[in-house]
Symmetry: C2
Subunit: 136 residues, 2 copies
DNA sequence: TTAGAAATTGACGTTTACGTAAACGTTAAC
DNA sequence: GTTAACGTTTACGTAAACGTCAATTTCTAA
């Protein structure tokens, strides 16, 4: 039920599969800013969105510093022209990075599919009883 | 000229953009096994291939332990049937992981493209002098 | 109201993946 | 024949990203 209510830290732990320590750590790093009700933290939908972005970045091997940069790109609306150009450059950097990762993934997947085929072939040969060293 | 000659560590440093410390570290971790000529290391094409695989894995955010597993998948030819099934499972795990990363990349790329468009739109508006707050 | 569950706050510990520095051995050039 | 340049070994250092207590507070259900 992550509709649009506020959530406790335990909710996030359950929903995202991370520890409370991790969530507080991200906050200490300035990447989450939950509301405070007395001592307790209250997480709004925007916090959930941010956490989701952080975890996605982690899965892709970005450091927290890089993830912070990426998220900043999302929410920044710079006024001046110089800033805008700088931003566009940053965006291109990140895009190039992601394209490289995509290529790396395609290559690795292809290789793994090849290994997979070879394995299944072996399996088939093992399953065929009357075919011992046919090609030797 | 990485044709099929042997190379010194300095060659790898130059060709792959990593430090000698890193290369020796990977060897200490058992991920590279260069020939020894006296005290010096000599790197063969297979070492270059492995290093390339390691670096590709790093770009994708895999730990060295995971990369080791993946590379092991490449070169393993297990005999028994139980081993084969275990292998196929491992391969599926890795593939699922890579597919997840691919999805993450697609999402992030789409979002960045959106930010890019918005930025360029801003730029256009700034470049148009006689259009101050038209939609206000 | 009291025991237990959940949350918070330090504070120190740990793992990964190297960096950095010191001390030493080889070899090629001058 | 010595001085760079390159390579090696050993060992301690470090940044990132949390883990793991311990002590305390806060909330909640019986």
């Amino acid at each position: 039920m992550p509709g649009n209510k506020v959530h406790t830290i335990a909710d996030l732990v359950r929903d995202f599969g991370v520890t409370a320590r991790t969530i507080r750590f991200y906050e200490a790093e300035g990447m989450l800013t939950p509301e405070r009700q007395g001592q307790q933290r209250l997480y709004h939908p925007r916090d959930r969105v941010r956490l989701k972005l952080i975890l996605r970045g982690k899965r892709l091997g970005f450091t927290l510093a890089e993830i912070r940069e990426i998220i900043d790109l999302y929410h920044a609306a710079p006024g001046e022209l110089g800033q805008l150009q700088y931003f566009l450059d940053k965006i291109q950097e990140r895009r190039a990075d992601l394209e490289q990762k995509r290529k790396d993934i395609e290559l690795t997947l292809k290789e793994l599919e090849e290994v997979d085929r070879t394995c299944r072939q072996h399996l088939l040969e093992l399953a065929r009883p009357g075919s011992k060293e046919a090609a030797e």
